[in-house]
Amino acid sequence: MSAIVQAQTEVVQDPKHFELSPANRRWILWFILFGFAALAFGVFQGFVQGLNYAGISLFSFLPGMKTYYEGLTAHGVLNAFIFTFAEANGWLSLTTARALGRNLNSRLLALSFVLLVLGTVFAGIPIFLGKASVLYTFYPPLRAHWAFYFGIALAVVSTWIISAAQLWALAEWRKEHKGERIPLMAYVSIMTYIMWDISSLGAASEDLFLLLPWSLNLLPGSDPLLSRVLFWYTGHQIVYYWLLPAYVSWYIFIPRMVGGKLFSDSLARIAFIMFVVLVPVGFHHQYTDPGIGNYFKIAVLILTFGIAFPSLLTAFSIMYALEIGGRANGGKGILGWFLKLPWSNPAVSAQVLAMIAFLPGGITGIMNASYNMNLLVHNTTFVPGHFHLTLGSAVTLSYFGIAYWLIPYLTGRKLALERVAKWQPWVYFLGILIFARGEISGGILGMPRRTALAVINYEPLPGWKLAGALTGIGGTIMFIGCVLFFLVIFFTLIQGKKMESTGDLPFTETYLGAAPSGWQLILDKLSYWVLLSFILIALVYGPFLLTHLPPKLNSPPFQGF
């Protein structure tokens, strides 16, 4: 190892005299709390849906959830959009501000927050009135109330504003730091948003130019295939917008929190570059769709396996950092270091459990993306089994872990109910293991997803009942895990002990730091990577759009929900 210790450069150059401004602190805290509030509503819906798989239908008894599909729409929109947008907006604003040593523009943060809240209200009201039970994929010709599409658009614009605030801060920073490398923590935060800016263009244009005018009767009809193509252009990359904020925590914070260090600065940057460049993979959600040629399906098969690579790099970097930390704490042997990680710190245990859940999450993802193998599992519960391991665990558990130190940092209050916080990640983790076992096995046996299985009119196929029961039991335990988390946060906010000083963010150092010269400089040329991304998008999506456009707006609306 000694050969490696060439330079012990800090990831973040010391920003002299930096203090998070009260306005920045306020809006970031509001984002984090608003996201968790959305999560709280969403997981309650999720709990009831889990019971549906176990054959228990509670929908008619609950206000604002008249059908399974209404609840499922709320669950998807609140958890997959609002929760993740709010957390990413708050969390990556903070990391960018701290890394660059300058506060982001408070007015932009405020504007973004207001738009996200308005978006939630506009989309939420029609959902709870039963006028937008179109699920979070909102495929036309299913047509929701116009307020739903308007709300979704506002929520997306709120994320673009955060990106603008980040890029503005970066431009200002560059003026004062000519010729310096972008601090890694800022780099990964800003690249996440650049990736999302490029990726969100598909669904955003579908929503703004096709669906919103159509819902106002300004267009004659919808184009079901084109809408699906635009949606999934964004719909796959959105998973990286969910995941990369967790990667930021895993790369930049976890190494320090376990007593280790990040191995390589450039390897981390390369992983994020690959996420920015390999945007056009969305067709792999459409292997079973007609009207899309094999050229596109094979191309995205290869690109999707390409985008699995940066996650494999991440696994290497993070495990390396964990091992350094575990050995520094006295861990011995091939795996002994793993037991010596600071498991008693819930901020760490939640995130290490998140990483463990991400292993089967990633593997099942590769199975979904596997072209003709997708025929066995497409639109079965295998798919939600997969993404509750990724979004529902790798991401959500990571945000739980982050919150355990971030909320004290932002509020100046110590974490309350510490013993509950120590148990909470384990409860949630146990729940997801049982839940995912149920959904994944059910999917392989043909159990369809997004289906009110408690009220079907045919005999469930062999194996579905066990799979459904496990899904219901696991989902209930996950819900209990969430409730414990919300209790900890609630009591921290109202009666956590005041701290004298909140200290600094616990970010890591690197063994191999950012070189001030040489080949690595190209990593910081953000515009090159954006250009490369657009070229690849043109190669994959260009031929489809050229042959398909103009939109065939010949499908009349359908509102049978």
């Binding site: 059908t67 399974y68 599909y69 039970s133 699920l135 495929y139 010709p141 299913l142 009809g221 079901p224 295939l225 390897l267 459409q286 079973t288 769709d289 007609p290 009207g291 899309i292 040629g293 094999n294 399906k297 094979i298 098969l301 290869i302 396996f305 699995a308 690579f309 494999l312 790099l313 290497f316 590769i366 596997s370 072209y371 003709n372 193998m373 997708n374 025929l375 066995l376 497409h378 639109n379 079965t380 046996l445 043909g446 159990m447 369809p448 997803r449 997004r450 289906t451 009110a452 299985l453 079907i456 009119n457 045919y458 196929l461 065939k552 499908s555 009349p556 359908f558 049978g560 929900f561």
Partner: protein, 160 residues
């Protein structure tokens, strides 16, 4: 790069390449295919898409047709909330090509425990081939959300 890092990177690349080759083998040699682009249903000016679909072959005749000894063409229309035809009978060993589309919204056509899994989209034509070697009753499930009674949209294939 350090040695360990290099081994890891090449191992990762190798595994991913092996997966891709295996899938292409399954597609080309074993002929496990996914639906592709076979052209759209185009309405005449002023004509509704659903009417155009019902007059466009093969969708003017939903049901089972034996096109050659042992070879069958099964034409399926999806509409909220049923399949037309709702039940299909086939002999053991039938080599079937399914043709499917939708008259209203996105539907799914899925037969659990087989590789028959395709979307039925308005104006688009889905084609998949499957050989039914085992006798029994197979369930057809709509596995794309299509409104309030989506969960009741099913059918059967009886192979005997």
């Amino acid at each position: 790069m350090e040695k360990l890092e290099k081994i890891y990177v090449w191992l990762s690349v190798g595994i991913l390449l092996a997966f891709i080759l295996a899938l292409i083998y399954a597609s080309v040699i074993l002929a496990v295919r996914v639906p592709t682009d076979v052209g759209q249903i185009v309405p005449n000016p002023g004509e509704a898409l659903a009417s155009a679909t019902m007059r466009t072959p093969p969708f003017d005749q939903p049901g089972v047709q034996e096109v050659a000894p042992g070879k069958y063409k099964v034409v399926v229309l999806g509409q909220a909330w049923m399949f037309n035809p709702p039940s299909i009978e086939l002999p053991v060993g039938a080599d079937v090509t399914f043709y499917g589309t939708s008259l209203d919204i996105d539907h799914g056509f899925f037969i659990p425990n087989t590789d028959v899994n395709m979307m039925l989209l308005p104006g688009q034509v889905s084609i998949l081939r499957h050989r039914f070697d085992k006798a029994g009753v197979y369930r057809i499930i709509c596995h794309e959300y299509c409104g309030t009674l989506h969960h009741l949209m099913t059918g059967t294939i009886t192979v005997k």
